[in-house]
């Protein structure tokens, strides 16, 4: 299967954490301009998938194609130049750098494109006044905004968002997701991992459900009944979802 026009394509990806098989043969096609959400329970391999696409995990087998070119063996920093940029779980700002310095680091290996620091200050208006504060002094939601800004200024083609809502108040999460249309409008494609399924269903054009490292369901939220999503999420395999038995190597 090689869908024409896919911006990012993951083919039969298998990733091990030591003995544990975290992902087994996951395939996924991401088309330009869409929001994709990967959902699944804790330990389903969502973050592993995202981190493998960003280059932080070496796959055991399979390929990751960006515009048809396999980047599965490319170092993470080179993938940034190719247009894959990730906002890591837990924000991971540089705590001893100021807000502006964090954004400058994000810009240091940027591709040419519409996003720059000035535009981030327009997107998050309050950020401008706090530009010279240390990142460590910001609240979680503010840090998340800076982390998104730091990724946006690199002008990604595919933006990977890992657990944006983790540890944040629902109202803060909503406000952050409200900025999503603005960067979609600039031509960025979004692939996100979200623990909060209802949030994911609200924003995503397509969802992809993982269970113990395998795909159990994929499709458009509108076409999937809540029951099917629930079954795929918890592994109550219904015949038509075709979920294979979870498998582990080693133990």
């Amino acid at each position: 299967m090689s869908p024409a026009g896919a911006l990012l394509e993951v083919r039969d990806l298998t990733v091990h954490h030591g003995q544990l098989r975290a992902l087994s043969g996951v395939s996924l096609s991401v088309f330009p301009g869409d929001v994709y959400a990967i959902i699944g329970a804790n330990g389903a391999g969502k973050s592993t998938l995202l981190r493998a696409i960003a280059g932080l995990h070496q796959p055991t087998s399979g390929s990751i194609l960006l515009d048809g070119a396999d980047v599965a063996r490319v170092r993470p920093e080179r993938r940034v130049a190719a247009g894959i940029v990730m906002v890591p779980e837990g924000r991971r700002l540089f705590p001893s750098l100021t807000v502006e310095e964090n954004l400058l680091v994000g810009q240091s290996h940027a591709r040419p494109g519409p996003w720059d620091i000035e535009r981030i200050y327009e997107l998050f208006g309050w950020l401008r006044d706090r530009r010279s504060q240390l990142a460590a002094q910001l609240s979680g939601g503010e840090q998340q905004a800076v982390a998104i800004g730091r990724a946006l200024v690199a002008n990604p083609r595919v933006l990977l968002l890992d657990e944006l809502s983790l540890g944040l108040a629902p109202v803060v999460v909503r406000r952050i997701y409200e900025t999503l249309p603005e960067f979609l409008a600039s031509g960025i494609t979004v692939l996100l991992v979200e623990q909060d399924v209802s949030q994911a269903l609200r924003v995503a054009a397509r969802i992809h459900c993982l269970l113990e490292g395998r795909t159990t369901l994929a499709g458009r939220p509108a076409e999937l009944s809540p029951e099917r999503i629930e079954d795929a999420y918890f592994g109550l395999a219904s015949p038509d979802s075709g979920a294979p038995e979870p498998e582990r190597t080693g133990s």
Binding site: A81, R92, F94, S96, L97, E101, S108
Partner: protein
Amino acid sequence: MSWVNAIIQGILIGGLYALFACGLSLMFGVMKVINLAHGDLAVVAAYVALGVVGITHVPTVWSFILVVPLFAGLGYVLQRSLIQAALRRSILTTLLVTFGLSVVIENGLLQFTSANSHSLDIGSLVSDSFSIGSQITIAYLLLAIFIVAVAVLLGLQYFLSSTRQGRLIRAVADDREAAQLSGADYRHVFGIAAAIAFGTVALAGLAFGMYSSFDPTIGTDQLLLFAFEAVVIGGLGSLWGTLAGGILLGVVQQLAAQVNAADQILAGQLAFLVILVVMPQGLTGQRRTA
């Protein structure tokens, strides 16, 4: 007045200690590598300068133009090869590797240069001085070394806080993986940090070689120890803390020498231990500026 003189001498020599220490501090701060060969590298730099002067007959003070870039390049290459390979295994491996490097350097020097002590000949500059009042005598050389040390620290501070590369060094020191996700190759950034560390320690080695005599084993016996003490007294990761640490160490040593010249190194070490007990974070606390 001789006590005042001792304090002034201590401050000036503290600049040299800080120059020794800033590279050690930088490598620890950025890549968590404790370079046990740091002192030996300074000694090698002094020997290289001896060779450079012997061959080219340039005035000794100008040898740094060649030696410092040479060591910076060596630092980059060594970091990208040997030290990076050790880092990939574990932080402890880097201790073993740099310890091994230290042993190799010392024995190599003993083999090729003998155990005799040498010094870098700078003519009358070594003893030229001016006096303030009747008791205070300041050697031009020591004053020059102090000024160079402060200038290097100022330059390093500016580089780290205000340049793109310096910002990347701080970012990598904070979070290597997050820096990768911003497109920075941390191995290259490590190389740059090592180049700076090696360059500054080479400069310190040259200054030391002009100020005092050196032999193959003094790198680990004294210089590494002083550098460590300056870094720890000042507080890890802070450049100005390192200068303060170097100065405190120098002053304590000089004051002790007033009482009994044989006790000066012991006194420095006691001061170091006292600081370690009373202020384990060092004079400048935990906040890192580098």
